[in-house]
């Protein structure tokens, strides 16, 4: 159980990577942008990959009536996410410590993992809602109004995950360092659960 407790602590601490590294990255490349424009999504806000990328993405997007990319203070998520992540990391460390000293059993690890998974899914759901709004809630006075072959107005929701062609842009949306650290941390806590379970069995 000592080993499991250590893994639980390590796994929870990996979440803290999100305070330093982006959770997600979206890149936009086009023939006239040989150096693609890109945004890094942090839990506390969105930043350009290069210094002026956000300004230039907004500049390009205004032709099709997209909103400008939200500033950190324009979305409640960027205030709440850091609190949630900080709390979850702290909670995980506490549970891990208690496990290490044999005060709680391995089911607490799984409980933490379950809560984190639910929160993560909610976060993804929320992110997708935002992407949806960003790509479909267009200015009615947009300079360019494109339609699909079926005559319906075109929307520009970036993919939640993976690659998509949008007009002249190739859009790639993938997790970034902070996201990978978080996934790795969550897997570690799951491993902590199984190791804890195994040591319990041996103990019996």
């Amino acid at each position: 159980m000592k080993k499991a407790g250590i893994l639980m602590i390590l796994g929870s601490l990996l979440l803290l990577g999100l305070f330093e590294f982006p959770l997600w990255n979206i890149m936009l490349g086009a023939p006239q942008y040989p150096d693609p424009l890109g945004m890094n999504i942090y839990i506390s806000g969105i930043k350009g990959v290069k210094e002026f990328d956000i300004q230039n993405i907004d500049g390009v997007n205004h032709y099709i009536g997209m909103q400008t990319i939200p500033k950190p203070w324009e979305m409640w998520e960027f205030r709440v996410f850091p609190l949630v992540i900080g709390t979850m990391a702290a909670l995980g460390v506490v549970i891990g410590l208690l496990g290490f000293f044999g005060k709680v059993n391995h089911w607490w690890f799984l409980g933490w993992f379950g809560l984190m998974a639910v929160l993560g899914i909610l976060g993804m759901y929320d992110f997708n809602l935002w992407l949806n709004d960003y790509g479909t809630n267009l200015d009615p006075n947009a300079i360019m109004k494109m339609t699909r072959p079926n005559g319906r107005p075109m929307t520009y929701k970036p993919p939640l995950f993976g690659h998509q062609k949008m007009l002249n842009f190739d859009v790639d949306s993938w997790p970034h360092t902070g996201g990978y650290l978080m996934f790795a941390g969550m897997i570690l806590t799951l491993v902590a659960f199984f190791i804890g379970k195994k040591s319990k069995n041996i103990a019996q």
Binding site: D35, E51, F52, Q55, N56, G59, Y63, I143, M144
Partner: protein
Amino acid sequence: MAVMFSGCNNSKSPNGNRGALASTAAEKVYVPPGEHDEFYAFFSGGYSGNLTVYGLPSGRMFKEIPVFSQFPTNGYGYSEETKPMLNTSHGFIPWDDLHHPDISQTNGKLDGRWIFVNGNNTPRIARIDLKTFETDEIIEVPNSAGNHSSSFVTENTEYVVAGTRFSVPVPQKDISIKEYKGNFKGALSFIEVAPETGRMNLKFQIMMPGFDYDLSHPGRGKSHGWFFFTTYNTEEANTLLEVNASQNDKDFIAAVNWKKIEEYINNGGGTKMPAEYAHNVYDHSTHSAKSTIKKEVLTVDPTKVPGAVFLLPTPKSPHGCDVDPTGKYIIGNGKLSADLTIHSFDKMIAAIEAEKFDGNAYGIPILKFEDVLAGQVKSGGLGPLHTEFDGKGNAYTTFFISSELVKWNVETREVIDRQPNYYSVGHVMIPGGNSAAPFGKYAVAMNKITKDRYLPTGPELEHSAQLFDISGEKMELLLDFPTHGEPHYAAGIPAEILAPKSQKIYRLEDNKHEFAALGGDETRVERNGNEVHVYMSMIRSHFTPDNIEGIRVGDKVYFHITNHEQDFDVPHGFAMIGANNAELLIMPGQTRTLVWEPEQVGVWPFYCTDFCSALHQEMQGYVRVSPANSDIKLSWSLGE
């Protein structure tokens, strides 16, 4: 088929380089779409007053950098910010004859920080920044005329020199031209370069006898600390020079120990004399140039500094003056002779130490020809002019009269190869040619006459440059390409030194222009008497404001326009109907000012000239101009 081929060949140009040979040449100069050239080459635009930037080996032109001439393409010399760059003691001079570019060096190697060029007509030296490819500074050279033996730099860019081609009365005065001999002076100016900023300062002028100082090159390696200048008209004739300045069998190379003179000056030597000359500096944070008139110059009488200046006899009217990469040899080519003259730096020093002088000219010791001569190249060509080096022990000399490029070995002085030029070659350039470490892969010959090399374009033709592959034992002609103006001389540098440093935008937050409108809320229109200042911004695809009313006939309208883009290669233009100057081309983050003096009542449009986006054509606006006595209030708007 055979008949067709031979018929074809007969009617073709005399080089006969067709067929298989031509196709391998094509491969050597071919740079596939999207790929970059190996070298930047900076060609002087001669009488265009500009410097043009080409790629080697493709011969593609990338840019024309305005230096001494007004340039309507981007408004240089027309905009209020850049007009001071062309100020001189003679007033605003919007043209010059740009001759010799030279790239800054550190330890004798190209460092790619700046490129210096000379204005030949109204003596000036300009410094161009190689991050922005813009002219940053122009300093006028007083007491000079025909600033030809210029602008070459010493091996740590301590100095850039400006030798006068025409000697003149110093100070200028109303004097009979017949009194030239003994009364005119030739100033050799040493302009120090601040190591960090590149800022130039005319440190001293050596007042030489009234010869014509034609070309120059710095010593390097063991001869570092010396500068060499060719002279002609040592006869000091003042009329029909083609005859009267060609009487002496030998003219001179003036060897100047500038370190000795520097020491003399630092110890309080030299004489300050009144002089008026402009010093124009462009500031990249205010995006504006300032012109200052300087009032004084420090002059040095060379006879007062023993051991500083000597004259090396050199056959008849030498033109080129080239120092090999090791600094051991000084090559002076008598343009009216057939042979190349190679002086030895070591022998010169030995002769000076032994005080083996052959008289003097106005008190300056003349050395004996035989005592300084390292040897001569019996070339068989006519009219040798300029020499560059490949860094592998070979020299390449152009011959104007026999129109050829001759490769020879610097130590053995044997001719290795000769290739014809089409036609009448002046300078030759090897990247790094004026440095201790040339990049001896290509040589470019710059020809004065084009004739049948391209499709005819009426009587006026651009000059032709010719690219040679010099990587092998024999030179191979690869490419002809036209260059703009008179491609007098050029300087080349590997792309890998410059390209990574090239600036993409100006940062808006660093814009300290007095009249910049950095945010939308700073755009406005203000009246001050009959001056109206429009603080305007531009971004894809509109001007703020785009409608202005309350301007009157007789007003002087200053459009101060700031480009708010922060994206590489997104300039916007500004053109105002009836503005009697030019347009503006404004780079991302930059502010530029155009003056317009409306003379007719009406509603007059302005627009963006650079196709900036899909809505470029919509990037426009109007100015309403009312009669001079109108009381319509100033107003401006966007999106109303």
